[in-house]
Structures are given as structure tokens and as C-alpha cells.
Symmetry: D4
Subunit: 166 residues, 8 copies
């Protein structure tokens, strides 16, 4: 997973079993040519390493954090507690309760410490949100986002034509 | 509601009855001296005005959108569909179902169109998240965020001391 | 998908992956010989096309709209916001949360903008409801609905006899 | 509750304790000058009377049925089972479970027998939906619906101006 | 499905697709040698036949009714509304929402019209409950119930021994 | 709380704070002149007394048990585990979770040990169900149930007339 | 809040607004004469202080940790992640969602890092559980627990007598 | 399943079909060399045996009880009601409702009778919690827990390295 340049986005997951979900975020960032890094750091099994990552992220040039975890999903919240960088949380669908536990654990943060939560398992959207944030000070990304959005519409219209022709 | 300077954050709500919740976002932005504007524009009752607002927001200098709505809460999603600016969604607690409908309608967005969802009724966090996003390219805000975070800790420790002395 | 005559019912879906569900509506309308059209138009990926469709639907002779979407399902609501034609919403079961998000996003509409919601994934019922609406001014449909209803009873009684004989 | 003319809409409720909710439907129909009648007929306490009402509704000129009930809310479904007239269901918030039981009992109808479900306690929307249905063959109503919709937008914009001036 | 003697228990289901669940009730009644009959009668597709069945059940010697249905499950309630015989409701797991809709539609009955609800898909328990009710005036059944209960314990202890030996 | 004669129905509750709910069962049984007794016996705080009550109930002439409890509501299940008498469970609304915990703890019993569950807090229905069960071998009760049911209809129709006159 | 002796139990809460709930734990521990301390330390607002508390707790003689928090309740999990002392979690009822978010965030911990979760807002039980744990190596507590349990039964039986006499 | 020495932990399950889940607890205890025993004793099918087990557990040297059950899961509560030993409850995922019923039935215990609930199906954590409790008076276990925790971190970091190398 070669990522050229100093990473601007950190993708964290509680377990490498979350990678099939989180990988979508990495792929989307790659398609926008946004340098990033992916780490497996559990808030519950490696809290000290999460802390070190969080407090040094900004100094290392990380501008946005993306965190995915399931069940009592504390990773995004733990990062948000220890950094001022925007943290995007992906509730990863757990084996039980259909992802509701992951969602509520990620989104229901207390006053003062927000986590920008996206839909359950929707790592693609976490990456796009990260790009939207970075694009505020990055004209290339801003332009590519407009193209990406146009592409979404185009793809929709193609599906529409496909259905109408069928 | 005096807001000096060109607004960088737009706060939208579906109904003025949501203002008591959304006002917390405005207050927090004021405390960070972030110029903003507040608008009542319903995705369902004034969709054309929402559209115009969304497509022109970026050109008008708006860098982050905050949207709060309840029930089948589509406002944040409608803005995200028509703008590339990051959209922060606040699920406003509805009269029934305890805010679960607002939360799911706001957060469960499809691939390609993220809404950065915060906790139910937590407009304060929406504003802090907006500040975190703006702070990536604004050294003053970055500094003030660090202070704000330190203030959260300080306030916590004071409460701790208060309890221990009681 | 040949549909003779000027369509009276428009079937819209957010993604062509919803077609296996929505197709049931088309089939039921066909069995009632109600001219219709099916379109893939996402409220989030092609909002401008949804708008154009909605505002022109009535002029084009569309009398009822059927919309199916999943997750933060805004399509039916977006149509209802931009048209005065009755809109029937089908909450399409999403991958997570078992369709609860789709249901709440579709049904919990604010005052003034109703969506006539049917059961999760029950596109058949959306079509029947459309026929019931059209039948108010269409004697043929009214008659066929009575036959359809009698057929439901008959089919039930056959199943009853089948079980009793088994 | 004077209602002039032959009623076109029947409003049914399971208990007169539901009247404060259902009355909103009656008021909205009155504002559209749609003749209607309101009845208290429980699917569980007066099933035979519900049946008689349902089977004779169409002959009596009723074109749309609106039914509100709470808990194991069967009234709308019972009407839909015994009539081909479109039935609009209002899940009335019950004392427990926040209306979720009413919603699911109303909306999750089996194939062949749809209930057009609106939001929990949203009798206003049930009436508007009824007007939308009637308007398909009633030019006056069609025109008034356009005005009503414009009024919703206007009211929204006034609230917007009110907030901006505050 | 030969059942000797005048049936004392009626097993009703909304659709023959519910038979694999309901069959467990029939089998348990057979093991207790309780004469019964099974019918497919939908509250929504054959309401008049449900009514006739309900009002004549008692006269025909039926002492307990067992009804299973899914989704907006009204069958048990419809029977309870039209008969004074005890009605046992089995919420049949629906394709969506994991049976929660079936459960709430069956159990949340209004004052005056109870449905004795058992666990989702637990037709076995519906039959045992029916036997418990009949046993109040049937010494043979009372005795067999005691044996059945002893058998449950015995089977449990065997499983316990099996595990301990493993 | 005078109850003449040997009690046929035992009403049990986990805490005397449940009495305001359970009292409705007692009152309804009184109106049917069914001798009963009410006891406060917690499955968790007095399990041995619950056991003694359960195993001796039948010998003491108790024919039906009614049990109400909240939260992790085990009382009805504990009685059903230790008696072959039909047990009716009333999920008592708990302070949190709106009674959902009480409902699921009461109704989701394993194979072999049914609890006849009624709606949350609906002790009235528990009593009526008990009467329906007893009426199978008690002609007076059977007759009075028919009258009670007629009374429900009559009361409904009076409410209907009241509303129509208003 | 005088607490004599070296504390054996640490009671932590995310906010002093949780004290009315957590105080019940302190009171119960006092009634068992178990030395304890109460601290306000938020996992999100003072994570470094939580960490220091957790890693030093055992050395300071703390044998059991009790943590109460609401919403995305991470406090108990954060303690469990950074200590090997048993951690008891109290899901504090949040303003929205009726405590379901607090419960799921507290209980659904990943493999390797358990939190012993008690009922929503049930701080009393957290304290009793702590006493049960300590009693394994403390004969006085073991004896008092037996008395406490007998007291529960006695209190239940008194309520029973009270009701029977009423 | 050879277990040397006098068992200190009792693992109970309602049915041997729960063994695949509960076995994880046994395996984890074995890895810590904690003597234990596993029993199949249903609170509903063998309540008297559960009672005998509970009241004699402490005398037999059992210091912690682990109980797993599904649906209306009463086993852990029944043990807690009849013993002063700490009881750890594992909500076993049921066929329907995704384990929510098991969770609420296990965790929502009334005042005075706690059950230390772990995540749905997480028997591993039940065992670790038992070890944490025993470790308070067992230096070997205390030491091994520190090693176990270090192992969790190590395993996490290996997964991290694995991902970074990929």
C-alpha cells in the first residue's frame, strides 16, 4: 500500500478485520491523489498508541482523521478527545445489532468533542468528506470534487438511460 | 443577531422552531469569532430556495454548512447533494421516536454524498466541528481550539475538585 | 420495458440496484394496464434532474408518483416537496438497520408535505395504491380493483383448501 | 362540527381520545372546503360497524378514508381490507414505545392491501394527501393545492426573514 | 392432515407460507392428542371469512384460537375482536425488521380485547399454552402437562450430563 | 381489598410500586366477580417465596396466574417455569427504554414454557384474558364476557354519536 | 463526602451532572462501609487524567472501578482499556434515545476488554456488584451481603403483607 | 472437558445449543489455568436444579458464576437472585431480534440484584472479567492479566505492522 508524500489523512481502525470496510476510504483518497496512511490501533487494546498517534498527528501534517470501529466504537471519540484535527467516524457494522451499537457509540458524543459521523460502513463517504474539508484550502481538490459530483450525476443518468432502454 | 464580516459558515434549519437548538451553534461560532449567518429554509417547504442557497454558498464565501432538521430530516442531505462544501448535520429531536428518525435520516447518506453528522440536538458540536475544519487554514482558530480544549479539561477538573470537596 | 400510451404513473428510484424491488410496481401497473414510466433519478446524485422531473410531472400527465429509496431515503420527500401530485414512498431495505432507516426517512415527513408510505420493499402495494387513486376517476380501474380484491380472497381460500386437504 | 354536503372523506378513529390528533385532519379538510365526516369506530371493539362502514363507504360517495389508531393499530388495515377506496393511515402515538408500535402496525401491510401511511400523529398530512388524491379530478382543489404549497414556502420565508432580522 | 374428533383448537394463519412455523403448533397439539384444525384465513385478504370463522368458532366447539401472522399482523386481533374465546397470537418473523413489527402488532392490543402473545415464531409455545388452558377442565391434559414439564427437565439434565461427560 | 371465596386467580407483582398498574387487573376481576388474590413477590428478591407460591398455586385452587414486572421482568417466566397453570404476563413500563425491556423479557420465552403476554401496562387485558380462560368451564363468565364485549361496542358507538353530535 | 481509609473503590463519572445517579453507588458503598472515592473525569474532556487515574488505580489500592457516563459513553471502556482492575459500567440515561446509546456504548466492548455493565442508571447495583467482588476476600462483606440479601426478601415480604392487608 | 482441581468458576447455559458460544469462556479460563465447570441448567426448564446449584455454589468453592442464555434470558438473574457470588451474564444472540431481547433481559436487573453483563455472545470477555475478579486475591492471575493485556497490545501492533507493510 504505497502512499507517496507526507500523509494528510490518517485512516485508523480498531482491528484489521475492519480493513475491507476501511479500504474503501483509502481507495477513494487515492483516486483524489490525497496522501494518507492506514493504521490498526485499537482504543481498547492499544490506548497508549492511539494517544500518541492522536497528539502527534497534527504535527506530522495530518489534517483529517478517519476512524472506523464496531460495537462499543470508541476509536473516533478517543482521537477526537486527544486532537483538534477534524475526526470522521465510520460506524462499522458489528456482528450483532446490525450496526446500531456502532452508530450510537460513534455519533452521540458529548458537548465539546464532536465526531463527524458518516453512514454505517460507508468508508467511501468518510474519504469524500475528508476531501471536501481539505478542498477548502486546496484548489485542485475543489476542482476535482466538482468533477466527482458531476460524475455521480452522469453515472446516475446513464443508469437511468439503461433502465429506460431495457 | 449581529454577525460581522462575510459569513464563512451557514447555519440552516428546517423551521424556526429549531432555532433554540441551532442557536447553540451560532453562539459557539460567535465565541470563536467566526462570521456566520442563520437561515430558515426547509428542504420540503422551500426546496427551490434551499437549492439556490446551496449552489451559491461556495461563491458567497461559505466554507462550511451546518443544517439541523427533525423527523424525515432531509435538509443536510439536500445541501450536500447540491454543494461540495462540507455539510454538518444536526439531527433535531422530534416529538416522537426520541430523535431516532432524525438521526437515521441525517446520517445514513448514500455513497458519494456524505453528511458529517453530530449527536442529536448537539448544535454546539456542529459549530466546533466547523471551527476544526476552518482551523486547518486559519492559525488563529487552530490556536483557539487548543485553548478551548484546554478549557474543557480545566472545567472538568474544577467539577472534579468541587465534587471531592463536597 | 415498452409502456404504451402517455404514462400516468412515474416510478422513480435512487439507484438501478433498487430496480428488482421497484419492478414489482411496474409489473402490477402493467397487469392493470396503467401506462407508466420508470426512472433512475437520485435525490442526492441528480437533484436537479429530480427537480425538473417533479415540477414537470403533472404537466406531462403524471398523476401519481411512486418513489423507492433506501437508507436516508429522501427521494419520495424531494418529489413531494416539488409537486402537488400524490407521492407514494417505498422504503427500500438497506444493507444495515434492516430497513428501519429507509422507513423513518420516508414516512416521518413534516406538516404540509405528505408521503404516502407503504411497507418496506412492498412495491406491489405502491402500485395498487396508485391504481386505487386513479380508480376514483376511472371506472375500468375501479371495476378491476374489485376483481383484484376478489382474486386475493379466492387465492387465500385456495391456499386454505390446499392446507386442509394436505 | 358542521360539514356541508355529501362527505367525500371519512375520518375514522379507534377511540374518541384520538380526536385531538384527528381533528387536525378535519380542520385541514375544512380549509380546503372538502366535505367530510368523522367517526369513532374501533376495529377491535366495533368490528362489525367498521365492516359495514367500509363496504358501504364507496356507495355513499366516500372517495378517501383516513384512519388513525394507536398501539396494535389495525383500523386503517381493516378498512383497506374491506374497501377499494384509498386508505390513509395515521399512526397515533401510544402511551408507550413512542408510537413505534402504531407506525409498524399501520405501515407494514401485506401484499395486496396497502395503507398510505403518514408520519406519527401527523393528521394534517393525512388530510393534505386526501386533497392531493381528490385534486386529480377536481380542478378547484388542484389550484388550491398549488396555493397551499406556495403558502408553505411563503411562511417559511417569513420565518427566515424573522430570524435574520432578529 | 387428519385430525380425529371435533376440533377444540383452531390454528389460523394469514398465509400458507406461515405453515412451516404454525405446523409446530399442530404437531405439539397432536402429541397431546388435542383435536384441532388448521386454516389459512387472512385478516386482510379474506376478512369476511375470518369474521365468519370467529363468530362461529365457539358454537363449533372451538375453545382456543391460535393465530400466526407477520408484518402488520392483525389476524389474532381480528379474531379476538369477534370472539370471546381466548386467542393466542404468534408473531411470525417477517422478512424485514426481524419480527419486531409482527410482535408489536400482535401484543399491543387496546383495553378490552387481549391477545395472549407468545415469542416470535414460537408456535410450540402457543400450543402448550392452549393445552394449559384446556387442562383446567381436562384431567388427562393436566396430567400430561406435568409429564411434559418433567420431560423438559429430564431433557435438560441429559444435555447437562452430556456436556459434563464431553 | 376484600376478595370473597377461594381465589381462582393469583395476581403477582415484583414490587408494590407496580400496584397502580396491577390494580386494574384486580378491579376487572372484581367486576366479573372472580375471586382472586394479589401478592408482592419478586423473582429476584424473594425467589424462594415465588417458587413456593408457584408450586402450590394449583393445589390451592389457583387456575390462572397474572404476573406484572418491569425491566428484566422474570416474574411471569419464573411462575411459568414452576407451574403448569396458564401464566399471563404484563410487561410493566420501566423508567427507561419505554417498556421495551419489560416486553421482551416477558414475551420471548423459550420452547416449552410459554407466558401469555399482553400489552405494556395493560393489566385490564390480563384480567379479561383470565376471565376468557376461566369462562371455558364457567357458563356465568361466558355469558358475562358476551355482555362485556357488547358493552365495549356500545361504549364505542356512544363515543361515535358524541363526536358526530359535537 | 467524607470517606475514611484508603479507598478500595473508585467511582468515576463523565460530568458532575451524573452525580445524582452515581451518588447512589457512593451511598450503597457507605452502607457497606467500603472506603471509596468519587471523581469527575471525562474520557473525552480529560482523557489524560483518566489515563493517569486508570494506570495508577491498582497501585493506589483501588480494587474495583465504577464508571457512569451517558450518550457515547466511553469512560468505563477507557478505564478497562488501561487497567486490569474489574470495571463496572453504569449507562447513564441520556436526554435522547432513552439510555439506549449509553447502554450499547458501555456494554458492547470488544474481545479482551470487558466492562461489567449494570442496568441503565442503576448505580445501586454497581455498588452491590463491587461489594460482591470485594467480598470474595473479605469475610465481613460476605456476611453483610447475606444480610443485605435477606433484607431484600424481608422488605419484599413486608410490601406483600402491606398489600394483602390493604 | 477435563478440569483439574476444585472449580472456582461455574459456567452455566440454558441449553447445550449455547455451548459453541459459552465454550469460549471455558477456553479462556483454561488459558488462565482457572479451574471451572460447565453446566446446562435452564432457569425455565430446570429451575429447581438452578436453585440448588446457586445456593450451594459458594459452599462448593465457586467464586464467580458465568451464565449465558438467549431470548427472555433469565438464567443469570435467577443465579444472582439466589447467590451472593458475582454473576456475569452473557446475552446469547437469539434467532430473532438480533440479541436485543437477550441483552435487555440480562442487563436490566432491579435494584439489589446486579448481573455483570458483557457484550452479546462475548463469552471470552465473561471469562476475562471472572479472571479480573479472582485476580484481586490471586497474585498469579494478576500477573498473567498484565501479560494478557500486553499481548492484546502486541497483537494489535502486529496487525498494524502487517497492514502498513501490505
Amino acid at each position: 500500500m504505497a502512499k507517496k508524500g507526507r500523509p494528510r489523512v490518517g485512516i485508523l481502525m480498531g482491528s484489521d478485520s475492519d480493513w475491507p470496510v476501511l479500504e474503501q476510504a483509502a481507495k477513494m483518497l487515492e483516486s483524489f491523489k490525497v496522501a494518507h496512511e492506514a493504521r490498526v490501533l485499537s482504543a481498547h487494546r492499544a490506548p497508549e498508541h492511539v494517544r500518541r498517534y492522536a497528539v502527534s498527528a497534527s504535527k506530522r501534517g495530518i489534517q483529517v482523521l478517519i476512524a472506523g470501529a464496531g460495537g462499543a466504537a470508541h476509536l473516533a471519540g478517543a482521537l477526537a478527545a486527544q486532537s483538534t484535527v477534524p475526526v470522521i467516524g465510520i460506524p462499522v457494522k458489528s456482528k450483532n445489532l446490525d450496526g446500531l451499537d456502532s452508530l450510537l457509540s460513534t455519533v452521540q458524543m458529548p458537548r465539546g468533542v464532536p465526531v463527524a459521523t458518516v453512514a454505517i460502513d460507508n468508508a467511501t463517504n468518510a474519504a469524500i468528506l475528508a476531501v471536501q474539508i481539505l478542498a477548502l484550502a486546496d484548489a485542485r481538490l475543489a476542482k476535482e470534487l466538482v468533477q466527482y459530483k458531476a460524475g455521480l450525476t452522469e453515472k446516475n443518468l446513464k443508469a437511468d438511460q439503461g433502465l429506460r432502454r431495457s
